[in-house]
Amino acid sequence: MRKTILLMIMTLLWSAPLLAAGTQYKLRVDGLSCPFCAYGIEKMLIRTEGVESVTVDLEKGLLIVKVEEGVTLTEARLKQLVHDAGFTLRSMSEQPL
């Protein structure tokens, strides 16, 4: 009985992140090496509803945006956000987490 309960708890704990998984967007934007620019885009993205985290990958010139499950950021929306931050979105990709 104990083993069964333990197994159930372990299964629940293991599956929780999967159940809560959202989407990750990778945005290629020029000019990220200047923090005035990078912070500006970061600020706008992190204040967008449903965005969980924003990471800047300077080596690759990428912004990595993770959103909550059920939240979708369209390319048009992302283009506008990047544009409002003073830059141009070069390309983007998305993948479920």
Partner: protein
């Protein structure tokens, strides 16, 4: 005869413009005395330093991603630090350029759209401004200067303007057109920092216009410099810029400019005459020289963004 005159005029113009646009260094080279820091979150380490200021004996550093201000003596010895991530009073969201004035530390709090003021010991005193585009409101303040009477000059980065506020944050006036970039005199392209002299003349780091703009104490445009015609033509020649991210005034009245994408400080006379340049080249992918502060003895401290460190430079001996 006409041809000869034309030729002489052309050659003279070229020579004059080459003198003006490609000036030579006029001083002995600055010497790098030491560096300190390195990436991390322990005391004395940094995660993206973006601002720097000095008092009579201390160096204050915006340790941006660590959301704190660190304080050192002039030898680089850690003394204390303050601030933590957040948007409550005294908390910080990406501190940028700093200013020490009238015995207080002024912090451009980029994420929280405000200027925060602390004692030099780190006690929070007050916050000025709030998010927005109205008078006295900010959209990503990048830097601040404080006049003798306590007035603030704030580089309001995304609003494309510089605002003058009284000591309580009351709006006085602004330069630039709200939300619009431009290359003509009095227009801005993402202003990042401001420095003001004792007589009220103020110098604006006009970030992506790759130039410095100068205004007299009555607010009139005075002059500008940075590349040919100072109209958003970037480059790596002496006197040219590739994104101006910080500005400071030395005790002799000379102007020190952080020239970010060129990884160097450039030094000018108040009229814009180029004097000297120094810096540590970047190994990529980002850049080194983002902010500069000058002590009364001429020592120059640089916030080195790429290497997460502080550089200390001394003027070369004549």
């Amino acid at each position: 005869m006409v041809r000869l005159t034309l030729f002489v005029v052309m050659v003279s113009t070229l020579l004059l413009s080459s003198y003006a646009w490609f000036p030579r260094v006029k001083e002995p080279p600055y010497q790098l005395v030491k560096t300190w820091g390195g990436k991390g979150d322990a005391p004395g380490r940094f995660n993206e330093p973006t601002g720097i200021a000095v008092s009579v004996s201390e160096v204050f550093v915006s340790d941006s991603r660590n959301a704190r201000i660190q304080v050192f003596d002039f030898g680089g010895n850690f003394k204390h630090m303050f601030g933590e991530p957040g948007d409550e009073a005294g908390q910080l969201g990406r501190p940028m350029n700093l200013t020490v004035a009238n015995g207080e530390l002024y912090v451009a709090d980029y994420f929280n759209e405000r200027i925060q003021v602390y004692t030099l010991q780190g006690q929070f005193l007050r916050a000025i401004g709030k998010p927005g585009a109205g008078p006295g409101e900010f959209n990503a303040p990048g830097g601040v200067a404080v006049a003798n009477n306590g007035d603030l000059f704030v580089a309001d980065f995304y609003n494309q303007r510089v605002q003058q506020l009284d000591a309580n944050g009351g709006f006085i006036r602004q330069w630039g057109t709200l939300g619009e970039t431009g290359v003509w005199a009095g227009e801005f392209n993402y202003p990042t920092d401001v420095a003001v002299t004792a007589n009220g003349t103020f110098y604006i780091a006009d970030g992506y216009n790759d130039r410095v703009q100068v205004f007299s104490s009555n607010g009139d445009f005075s002059h500008k410099w940075g590349g040919p015609l100072a109209m958003n033509i970037f480059g790596s020649f002496n006197g040219w810029f590739a994104t101006v991210t910080g500005i400071s005034i030395g005790s002799q009245g000379n102007i020190f400019v952080a020239d970010f994408y060129n990884d160097r400080v450039q030094k000018f006379k108040p009229d814009g005459e180029f004097l000297n340049t120094f810096g540590i080249p970047s190994k990529g992918p980002t850049h080194t020289t983002i902010a500069v502060a000058v002590a009364s003895d001429g020592t120059v401290f640089v916030a080195d963004y790429a290497n997460h460190q502080i550089q200390k430079w001394r003027p070369g001996k004549k």
